[in-house]
Amino acid sequence: MMKYRNPPIVEAVCEFRLSRDTPWDLTVPGLLYEKLREQFPNREQRLVQEFEISEGPQGIQQQIRSSERIMLFGEDRKMFVQLGPHLLAINVLKPYPTWALFKSKIQLAWESLLTTIEVKGVERIGLRYINRIEIPVAADRIKEYLEFYIFLGEDLPQQMVSFLAGGEFTFASGRDRCRVQLSSMSRESQEQTELLLDIDYFLARPKELPPGDALDWIEAAHERVECIFEGCITDVLRESFLPERA
């Protein structure tokens, strides 16, 4: 496992979405807060808009729905827990601590939830890492730094003002997927290229994982995310993250 003194991670998220038959009501966030307040004492609320699509008798129907999200922040506001209807997420912002510390918070939040409500099933678990990468060259030299990028044939213009590349890999016989996206952050200077390398490893088959196996799944997911990340970067870029060598 490679460790870096200057890792490019700007955010890591572990998100649990519970099956709809798990009983959830308005008291759940408050009950969870009581269990987490020692480590996440600062409570705030946000409204999040979600877009819902369904098929009705008159065809495709779209609905924008607002849902309240409770956010519990640690003292330094670099780590927080999000609670919403059938949703628990643990976010950590730059500077990324260590996997051991992040996982300990995930474990705390998840086990607190398991002792608060009866989780009937897990619809989805996601472990997402977003990396912000600055390379000191224009985007047409990106292949010197990355092994995952948009390939342009020689008959195409070689300068792009912005791009988005993505793909999905499957693991565990299709139970899991890992979505990798590389996007440019548009800025007006062309001397540098700023990128977001976004790796989202998730449970793709709802309810196929027993809730009691969630933490083992997350450990395995983290290992695969690490492998994917290492596979996306060249040694040139790797050196810029200041790898720790034994």
């Binding site: 955010e11 506001r77 976010n91 997402r128 952050m185 700023e194 976004d198």
Partner: protein, 161 residues
């Protein structure tokens, strides 16, 4: 989860997908009793992704963001401003259609810390400029009530870039 027939799925994608860039907030599926729709894979929700998506949307609508990284970092620190930024930019675009809007992070030596500024720039300035900014001030101040972080609507009297 049951997947619809490909032809139906394709109709849904054609209907919905043009409006959603890949990094937008998650699309919920449901209600489920009739037909579960699979339009696009959901994403693990991320604050950074939400902000990057917001800035991308606003830039497509004409907002300038010369240094997106600094604005993103500020909104990561003050996520309660995410909704405010979107609403304020929309209000300014409606009320000041002849202005160029630029969202920037500013450091003021007299002001401890940094703040976001939505600069309003016109081709020509007259003595109505401040009056025009005042017209949107009430709406903007209401949105800022109780929020941590700072967002200022102002002009630096520079021409549009």
């Amino acid at each position: 989860m049951q997947y619809p027939a490909p032809s139906f799925s394709r109709r849904v994608q054609e209907h919905v997908m043009p409006y959603f860039p890949p990094s937008s907030a998650s699309i919920m599926l449901g209600p489920y009793p009739k037909t579960a729709l699979y339009v696009k894979p959901e994403q693990t929700q991320s604050l950074v992704s939400e902000i990057a998506s917001l800035l991308g949307r606003l830039q497509q609508k004409g907002l300038r963001v010369p240094e997106p990284r600094t604005v993103l970092d500020y909104l990561v620190e003050f996520p309660e401003l995410i909704d405010v930024v979107e609403k304020v930019v929309n209000i300014a675009q409606i009320r000041l259609p002849d202005a160029q809007l630029s969202l920037e992070l500013c450091q003021d030596p007299e002001f401890e810390g940094s703040y976001l500024a939505l600069y309003v720039r016109f081709n020509q300035y007259d003595d109505r400029v401040i009056e025009r900014l005042d017209l949107i001030e009430d709406e903007y101040l209401t949105l800022m009530e109780g929020k941590r972080g700072s967002l200022l609507i102002t002009t630096d009297f520079r021409p549009p870039e």
